[in-house]
Symmetry: C2
């Protein structure tokens, strides 16, 4: 028997996969099916170039289904290992194999894949399992096309935001992306960014000084992409232009946040005449409008250091729990977080995510009756 959760848990990063890319075919034109038969999907699995991930092919060894298919491709196994085992109230699906659509050169193909992924996710995951909520994948090559895709799927009650990867040609505050933000702002839905795609396809290098050699270096650079996106959102005035959007940054770490914001606040004092539409210290915008996830849970120096960082980062508002199931560096809800005050833990484990994704409280009993 799985343990019963003593607390509400909302898991903000669950990777679901197909057993074969042909699961997408019912949602693709015959022409695209023919191209994929000939060339494959042309999407790298990890979305971050040639780096060698950890674990077993990047995943928990026990997460591969008995039929030999891909880790994360089996809903019953996901229920057994995650949803039932930890009594997860809600899980946010972040996909895997289609996520790098925005690294592709062909905007129409990228949009077709994103669209097929969204339909597949609705039919294979969200509708069969009401604990799972989806994010609508968008291809960023053509923001007008992405906006149309969002309009097509955001009315589904199981879709709770838009999804893209961290890797990008332009930082996310730039006006290039406005058509996407207009749709989300009208509906008050979040823009969710997951690590991946940095240095892949038409994106630039994963660091400002070129391509590193090792996966651990690429992992470190995740924070850089997020810092660049957030800096852009601030100084392009995106928070004021789109007051109803929350931006969520998954799996790029959290403990860098306070000193990053201190640096921005310091510089803003000396340079604010160059961006006069930024009328408040940068940190204020971020505390209100940007959210982060826990996994991979970082460690500090000594027992109190992480709690000090959480205080400086306003973790009671800005941090949300995630497991990253079924990846090798999965974080258990029971063991991931350091000891902390009960109310802070409650905010991180469930309530911050509940607010961002607008998820009603559901009792264990109500879930069992679904």
């Amino acid at each position: 028997m799985p343990p019963r959760a003593k607390e509400a848990i909302i898991d903000c990063d669950i990777h679901q996969r197909f057993k074969s890319h042909k699961e997408l075919y019912p949602y693709l034109s015959k022409a695209w099916q023919k191209d994929i038969d000939e060339f494959g999907l042309r999407l790298t699995t990890t979305g971050s170039g040639g780096f060698l991930n950890g674990g077993t092919g990047g995943f928990r060894e026990d997460s591969y289904p008995a039929d030999g298919t891909m880790a994360g491709s089996d809903l019953p196994l996901m229920r057994e290992q995650l949803l039932d085992y930890y009594d997860i109230e809600y899980g946010i699906l972040t996909g895997q194999d289609c996520s790098p659509v925005s690294t592709l050169p062909n905007a129409d193909y990228a949009n077709a894949i994103a669209s097929a992924y969204n339909d597949w996710m609705i039919e294979h995951w969200i509708e069969p399992e009401p604990r799972l909520k989806g994010l609508a994948l968008i291809a960023l090559q053509n923001p007008n096309q992405a906006a149309k895709e969002l309009e097509r799927v955001l009315d589904h009650p199981g879709i709770v935001g838009a999804l893209t990867q961290a890797g990008a040609r332009f930082p996310y505050g730039q006006r290039f992306y406005d058509p996407i933000y207009e749709v989300l702002n009208d509906r008050g839905m979040p823009f969710v960014v997951h690590t991946g795609g940095e240095g892949s396809g038409w994106n630039g290098n994963p660091t400002p000084v070129g391509y590193p050699s090792y996966y651990i270096e690429a992992r470190q650079s995740r924070a850089m992409s997020y810092q660049a996106h957030i800096t852009s959102l601030i100084f392009e005035g995106a928070f004021d232009r789109f007051p109803n959007i929350q931006w969520v940054f998954i799996e790029g770490g959290y403990i860098w946040l306070p000193t990053f914001l201190w640096r921005l606040d310091s510089d803003w004092k000396g340079l604010r005449d160059q961006t006069p539409w930024v009328t408040r210290p940068p940190s204020e915008y971020v505390f209100e409008r940007v959210r982060f996830t826990t996994q991979p849970m970082e460690q500090g120096e000594g027992p109190k250091s992480l709690l000090q960082i959480f205080e400086w980062g306003r973790a009671e508002k800005t941090l949300m729990f995630a497991t990253d199931y079924p990846h090798w560096d999965f974080d258990s809800p029971e063991q991931a977080l350091p000891r902390m005050p009960e109310e802070l833990r409650r905010r991180i484990m469930s309530e911050n995510a509940r607010e961002v994704f607008k998820l009603p409280v559901r009792t264990t009993e109500a879930l069992a009756a679904d």
Copy 2:
């Protein structure tokens, strides 16, 4: 009368400039002189693309000489405003106009400019003013050529290390750079990196997600370049391969260091089998072998936060004072640092730099007699 310093001050970042680029001509071949007459130096002043800096053209308004020439080009004025005024024991020259040599496409031209800069610096600045010490500028396009230039100039007693910019095509741990490090390692001299060149010339974008719009964003990205270089030095094993080199990173901030190292230490625990030559936690290498400068001095949240960061960052070993004279965001030796224990202040104001650059203690009287 200038105030007398109550403490030893070593300033690790002073920008000296020429009044005209023709000051380089005595050290350049006729052929290069002709090209420069025709095309100009082809080096951007800031080395960071098209961003609009702060202050007056990027400089303190009062630092422009009365003859209308460039800020930082006048040794008597530098003495009056900086060396005498604050009773600076030593100042480390970091140049300005030639610094972006490593952004140029032509390796021979880049090396010729670096070489001319070094000769000009020796004749115009180091030899006339013994408080000033120089760093040998190198062009990174061809590390063998850079190594030869270092061998040519490092014997001069006023040269205390090698200098390059942060912007680069490859991170600085990669074996591409080994010929340079071999020369420095033989002599036990530091490799000094100054902010600049990110996104310029043949370097990639200044952030992993493309080009930002505003100078304040480019300024934020300085830390990213440094983090990528340091991560590379660690995981390529550079610290063990070159045990006699210290790496110095100027003007890219400091307060991001502790959480950056915590992230690396955490990831290393889970991934150390991929880089087994890294036998100790990454933070240990950095505390021993990497140094940073203070300017632009960052602020924290509340009076104790910076001191907490200094403790976590081992500032008593890793942090060195700098003014950045004559830039607009100049930090005064008297006002830059927060209140701190006397010994910690002494390490930051002078002793860490004294060790890295191997500078003997000199009394005020000895300096006056020079």
